[in-house]
């Protein structure tokens, strides 16, 4: 008897929390379906009189350039995260498996990159990108996003490479394989799960970044999507139907990743807890 009461209390608690957690989503999705007039006339939970989602999408996607920003980020996020994973794997391999001098110091250097707050980089990165003439360019943003992603990838991949049995490495050495050959033909293919986890977390990070986008871009052709969203706030001030639509547009890629690769996503969070 006592057992079932505990069970009931547990379910009630969970359901109450879940409802509370869903309200923000519910009210945002509903707002995106309504017109601003409808929204102002009735409380937020009422169903829309007429669904005008398409109108809202046209107004944000076209007129406020959200579509352009969306595709900018759709370029930055995969390019920067794939480059970062690849470049980081180069460093992670010797850090995990080769006996070299200064291994600890080098690992520490990359580890530091994970903990140092972005505020320590952002002003010089802005000044440098102006001087190097990569300010407000696609290339500039990709280079900087890639660099910012590298330390975390090194950490994650190095830890994964350590779990690959060293017998495998030794056997390949005896067979006369070069270091690069071992890295390319044995370690990289075996580390596929870690590569995917690293890619996902970094894709999400670049997609969700606001700070560097704000500082390093100044035109429609380069702005990442979150900066676009922050500008939408000024463009359609208090027109919640349009703002909600804009917000939901930016959610699509992370949401798709979350749904299709939830396991990897959760692993990335619990492994990469150090990442801001």
């Amino acid at each position: 008897m006592r057992f079932s009461i505990t069970k009931i209390i547990m379910y009630v608690t969970l359901v109450l929390f879940a409802i509370a957690w869903l309200i923000p989503f519910y009210s945002t999705v509903l707002a995106s379906l309504k017109s601003n007039e409808d929204l102002a006339a009735k409380p937020f939970w009422s169903l829309p009189e007429k669904i005008v989602l398409w109108d809202n999408i046209v107004k944000t996607w076209k007129r406020a350039y959200m579509g352009k920003y969306f595709f900018n980020s759709l370029l930055y996020a995969p390019v920067a995260s794939i480059s970062a994973v690849f470049i980081a794997s180069l460093a992670a391999f010797p850090l995990a498996r080769l006996k070299i001098k200064g291994r600890r110091a080098l690992f520490f250097l990359f580890l530091c990159g994970m903990f140092i707050p972005y505020q320590m980089y952002v002003v010089p990165l802005f000044l440098m990108s102006v001087q190097l003439k990569i300010y407000d360019t696609l290339v500039g943003l990709i280079l900087i996003y890639t660099s910012l992603c590298i330390p975390f990838c090194v950490f994650l991949l190095r830890n994964y490479f350590m779990t690959i049995p060293s017998d495998l490495f030794d056997a390949a050495r005896i067979d006369g394989a070069s270091h690069f050959g071992i890295y390319w033909r044995i370690f990289l293919p075996l580390a596929k799960p870690a590569l995917v986890t690293a890619f996902i977390t970094q894709f999400m990070w670049v997609w969700n970044d606001l700070l560097f986008g704000l500082v390093l871009t100044a035109s429609v052709n380069t702005r990442p999507v979150m900066v676009g969203l922050s500008m939408l706030e000024g463009y359609y001030e208090f027109q919640w139907a349009l703002l909600a639509t804009g917000g939901l547009i930016t959610i699509i890629p992370p949401l798709l990743i979350f749904i299709s690769l939830r396991k990897h996503f959760i692993k990335g969070i619990s492994m990469g807890i150090a990442k801001a």
Binding site: L14, I23, S27, I116, P117, H179, V215, M226, F265
Partner: protein
Amino acid sequence: MNREKITPYLFFLIPFIFVFIFLVYPMAYTIYLSFHEWSGLGAPTFIGMQNYQKIFVDPNLVRSLKNTIVWVVLTVANPVIIGLIIAITMSGQIKGETIFKSIFILPLALSPAVLGLIWLWMYDPRMGAINNILRALRLDFLCRSWLAIPGLNTIAMIFANAWAQAGFGIIILLAGLRSIPPDLVDAAKLDCRSSWQVLIHIIFPLLKPFFMILIAITIINSLKIFDIVYMMTFGGPYRSSETLALSMFRESFRLFHFGYASAIASVLFLVILIVIVIFIHAFERE
């Protein structure tokens, strides 16, 4: 033979170039700038520690420091309390666990900028969900323009962030709870202990390392809080809800006090470094 010795280092060439140019050098330059006064034009003037001294007398920055402390203290309480409640309720055999888990974890997939926007809408004084629900419950006297009142706006944003970050606590603590061997709990129950005693004497001590990770990360992340504040209030009204990261942004990219902003960043860095060192020590003691 010689080539054999060099190849391991060749692996580092490309990663090192990237990290050096875009991370190491900028960091050193920020520290250099923090001892200078510079508006972006001409050469920086060396002024010693003046930027650092100014942080602790400038009323805007003192307020920003206070806000950041409020953020840290209240945000740490969140994953520990909400996360623990939900993790414990979910640790038993629960039907629909995947659905519940997804609901709580979903906000973690979203950008802090979107979270800011969603909660800006939630807090809208006239149309937003919070005031609407309060009115429906006949609690009109509790309705506020949440983000316009100094002091209250910081709390309101911390609440929004708690909604977003609870899933993080749940993931970590659930992993912790699942790592406890069930035999141990069963054995304790056979000793005629109540569930409450089992929780306090058996489960909590075993969860300690997980709590420590959770608290360390939460402290570090809330020290750096930026996106949500940028989207919801931009530190306003009248800089009343600024955090250190936001003050740093405003001083550099709105007011062009690059030296002063660098000093703020360096202080932030130093505080985070201290937190990390403290926690590493605590971990080694464990």
